[in-house]
């Protein structure tokens, strides 16, 4: 008998969007739908750039890269620091999902404090959104890579990495099929970054529709009442 299912990531229950946000989110989605091709690989995609900018400001970071899942961001955080198949890393407070995913990448987890922490992470929820700056503050200096997971806002899997080291960002973008560098090669007809070559690549690109909702939520995080 025919059957379908939806994928449920371990340990995550996606919450329903709050009623008072229906109008503003519907409005922003309608506006994005009406504005042209909704394509994450368009050169001038403004929703993705806008979200990157908001996150950069929030995390006080020079470079931000967006992903269509938390695990995509974890992969990029490690790959960007050359923590690859056969490497070791440390993840304090790693969830069961973290452990399983990092193991699948072929990266070993250790508790030895001599090994640097792979990345810091913050899960952004409706509960902590209005005080997200305070949540982020202690994390900013602890690791060169900060992963923000926006999935629990309810728009679909969405995460980012924030870094100050350009080479980490470059490698992270290289992990994405049609990330920033593949895109440049399309327009210039020349390999954009021959020295930092891609290996395995995944489609971790975020939909501009999801990005638009996350961006709106971040911009209005201090409004107590919506429309």
């Amino acid at each position: 008998m025919a059957h379908t299912t939806i994928i449920t990531a371990p340990e995550k229950v996606t919450p329903v969007i709050k009623k008072e946000q229906y109008f503003s989110l519907s409005f922003v989605l309608s506006r994005v739908l009406n504005s042209g091709v909704i394509m994450s690989i368009e050169k001038n995609e403004s929703e993705l750039k806008g979200l990157e900018k908001s996150i950069g400001k929030l995390t006080q970071s020079k470079y931000v890269s967006l992903f269509n899942s938390y695990t995509g961001a974890v992969h990029a955080a490690l790959w960007g620091q050359d923590i690859v198949h056969g490497s070791l890393t440390r993840l304090e407070g790693a969830s069961e999902q973290d452990q399983r995913f990092v193991n699948w990448l072929g990266v070993g987890l250790v508790t030895d404090s001599e090994v640097s922490q792979g990345f810091e992470k913050v899960t952004v929820t409706w509960d902590n959104l209005s005080r997200i700056e305070q949540e982020l503050l202690p994390k900013l200096q602890q690791s060169p890579v900060l992963v923000l997971d926006f999935t629990e806002l309810g728009f679909g899997p969405c995460a980012s990495i924030s870094v100050n080291d350009e080479s980490v960002w470059t490698k992270a973008e290289r992990l994405k099929i049609f990330g920033a560098f593949d895109l440049k090669t399309m327009w210039t007809q020349e390999e954009a970054e021959p020295d930092i070559q891609p290996g395995a690549q995944f489609n971790y690109r975020l939909s501009p529709l999801v990005a638009a909702c996350v961006k709106l939520s971040l911009l209005r995080r201090n409004s107590s009442h919506e429309d």
Partner: protein
């Protein structure tokens, strides 16, 4: 208000345009510069209303509704909605049982995600050349690529033309291999009435923005014939923790778009048939070859150039192609390269870094992976001598626009001497695969 509404209608087409001076030399362009934009997907009030409804439902319910609706449309037994086409292919491969170090046979001409999905499954892509007529995986060459490590044959229905699944199925059965379709270009395409995605043991399909059935930016779906394969894919997700979930926003868009897919398919088929019939009357151009019983979805429309028939056979084919591309572009028709280097020639297969330290390529005992582009002469020939219309024909364009495209090709066909002149002027032209590899 920011809008993609096209405000300027095209003039009604006239055959007199064929004899006008080429736009490249200052004549009037068949499609004026301010009328070249096409839009797809078309967003209608149904999409907006569906979004207003879906936002009030649980994400799981929206995704489930979309998955079931599309699974039923395709006629597949089992389906898993995903975040992208690449992730759907990855799931299809692990679902049919691909293990680290296995080999998967794929065509040398496709989008890079086909082969990267094989690497994601920690397997080794083995590239095989294409059929010179259909540009799909050539079944006649597949058998010699099969080794003791081969697990899957994964054809791609390139541009929306179904691959020769009957022959590939026979080969798969003979060698006890699994057959997985990359149906990313082939929404509503079919063989003998059976839709692509439902024919193989498994299938992956992209639903991203430049596909015939796009779901709001990014998305994909994996299909399975057998319950065991489907459950293996679900177990893989649980065991690895990898999050490949589709956003409910994409699913909501998919629900409303799916209702209009047959309408858009019909316009594409009408337009492709019109263009193919006109091109058949020219010396230089030929439309896609579609085998009997196969239904092409025309996600892209690849035009074959025949310089010899136009008295240009003494000139290098790639230079003739470049000159025609230039002329077509100035007439307002974006016939271009889609892919310029066979996939094994792209950096990730030349350097074989994989997940790092060469994994999973290090699992292979191969000394030579067969990734030199010279192993794929038919792909190289195709890249030298064809041009592709992409979004401009994927969109449900109006009659006057498709008629204008046809007139533009007729106009160029009437000017072989100018093509010769351009070729002789442009001595710096390179073969496409001598340039850096691009993804599209």
């Amino acid at each position: 208000m920011k809008t993609d509404f096209i405000r300027k209608p095209l003039s009604l087409p006239s055959e007199a345009w064929i004899n006008e001076q080429l736009a490249y030399y200052g004549g009037p362009a068949v499609i004026p510069e301010d009328s070249r934009k096409t839009t797809f997907p078309s967003i209608t009030k149904e999409d907006i209303v569906q979004m207003l409804v879906s936002i009030q439902q649980s994400p799981e319910a929206v995704i489930d509704e979309f998955t079931e609706k599309y699974r039923s449309y395709v006629g597949a037994n089992y389906a898993i909605a995903t975040a992208s086409g690449t992730s759907s292919l990855h799931l299809a491969l692990v679902g049919v049982g691909v293990q680290p170090g296995d080999e998967v046979i794929v065509p040398a001409f496709t989008f890079i995600a086909t082969a990267q999905a094989v690497v994601a499954a920690k397997a080794i892509p083995v590239f095989v050349d294409i059929d010179p007529l259909t540009y799909n995986l050539n079944p006649a060459l597949v058998e010699q690529a099969i080794t003791a490590r081969t697990k899957v044959i994964m054809p791609v229905h390139v541009h929306g033309l179904p691959a020769d699944l009957a022959q590939l199925r026979a080969l798969a059965d003979k060698h006890k291999l699994r057959l997985v379709e990359d149906a990313s270009h082939a929404h509503s395409a079919s063989i003998g009435g059976q839709l692509c995605g439902s024919i193989g043991d498994g299938a992956g399909q992209s639903l991203m923005a430049d596909k015939n059935f796009p779901v709001g930016g990014e998305g994909g779906i994996a299909f399975f014939k057998g319950r065991e394969d489907y459950e293996r894919a679900l177990t893989f997700l649980q065991e690895t923790g990898i999050d490949y979930r589709m956003s409910w926003i994409a699913a909501a868009f998919g629900i409303s778009q799916l209702d209009r897919l047959p309408y858009y398919d019909a316009i594409r088929a009408r337009n492709a048939s019109y263009l193919t019939n006109i091109l058949a009357q020219t010396k230089l151009f030929k439309g896609p070859h579609v085998p009997v019983g196969h239904k092409h979805s025309y996600n892209m429309y690849r035009i074959k150039l025949d310089p010899e028939a136009a008295g240009l056979g003494d000139l290098p084919d790639y230079q003739v192609k470049e000159a025609i591309q230039e002329l077509a572009s100035s007439e307002g028709v974006f016939a271009r390269e889609w892919q310029n280097v066979p996939i094994p020639g792209h950096l990730p297969f030349q350097n074989r870094k994989g997940f790092g330290r060469g994994y999973p390529f290090t699992l292979s005992e191969r000394k030579d992976f067969g990734y030199h582009i010279d192993h794929f002469p038919e792909t190289l020939k195709m890249l030298r001598s064809t041009l592709t219309i992409c979004r401009e024909l994927r969109s449900p364009i109006e009659y006057e626009r498709i008629a204008a495209y046809a007139l533009a090709f007729q106009k160029i066909d009437a000017n072989p001497a100018i093509i010769r002149e351009l070729v002789l002027q442009n001595t710096a032209a390179k073969k496409s695969y001598e340039r850096d590899a691009r993804l599209g």
